[in-house]
Amino acid sequence: NGSAKWPLLNEEYQRYGRQMIVPSIGIQAGQLRLKSSSVLIIGAGGLGCPAAAYIAGAGVGTIGIVDGDTVETSNLHRQILHSTSKVGMRKAESAISYLKSLNPNPTYIAHTEHISPQNAQEIVERYDLVLDCTDNPASRYLISDVCVLLSKPLVSASALRTDGQLIVLNSPPLPPGNEAGGPCYRCVFPKPPPAESVVSCGDGGILGPVVGVMGVLQAVEAIKIIVEGKLAPSPEIQEGLKATPTSMLLFSALSPQPFRSVRLRSRRPGCFACSKDSGLSLEGLQSGSLDYVLFCGLASSANVL
């Protein structure tokens, strides 16, 4: 329908006009790509709230939110889609009620459960791109693995105290064994950190706008991937691709130079997830043969999002 003269509704031209005239979006091509894409946001907390607001605002066609938690008062200084009257409500549903009032056009899907090896495939396979907005290593390894298995680009962010980190993984999302694909979480972190070195926002604290900045930056990266047509590179494009290094953006709110980009590696030969020697399979995931909580150590298992 990209050839139709007015492929968008009048309300859509009004609503998205200011971003459609940005040259890098493209008056209609970019907006139609956003409309026909689907994004999964795993975690409706400090990262997921601002990320979801801008992804919904931009007109992504289908938006899924995964979160098994309920809203607490201690969330509200940073989880800006929820509100005082929603304390006790499921976060995924609270977030969607806000998003609908901001932009009624997208289709919203609430997944009111924590992501797990058992439900991950079924949830993730319905979407084009995934945002990791969770808060613990076990979820981060699981989400990366399922994105590799299902060939989804993954925009991952994290934050603690006054620092934040952002990394785009598995982009381009080529099948395991193709070294031209973007590295996965295991390429960068082959071994999990010792459980006692993992500090949650609950224990270490978090400045609201610090995690907010990281979540909004996830929305920037997701929109870039969609608009630039990088969700699933066509086979011809795949032929010519070379090993793709990635970069990590570091944010330190108290530093005089608050942002820093560092160059990371491309896919790791022998990576457990994305190399030709991959030990991963959807069947193995389903059957529970991979115990992410055990892999990451019990101290971090209290709240597997």
């Binding site: 290593p137 981060r140 980190q165 990590m248 330190s252 560092v262 160059r263």
Partner: protein, 106 residues
Amino acid sequence: MASETIPITVEFTGGLEMLFADQRKHSLSVPAKDERGQAVTVGWLVHYLCVEVMKDPRKEMFVLDGHVRPGILVLINDADWELEGEASYALQARDNILFVSTLHGG
């Protein structure tokens, strides 16, 4: 020759600075050669930081089993040290070595 030193910058972020007296940026002068007369490497530096600079007793939060512990990225002039030869990279004057503890919160 024995006393020749090279100036480098070492930085810690992501919470690692708390193991180093809450100081993110350290300007160091390190010997150009190790005790065996070899050019000093990043591997040497990690040991040096652990023994000479780090006052916090929780050494295992920085070095585990003789290696930088999992969950810490080492960047040499803003590039992953795996791109630069890892621990065997020989330090150059004015190198910037950044240790980043990965964050997991959200």
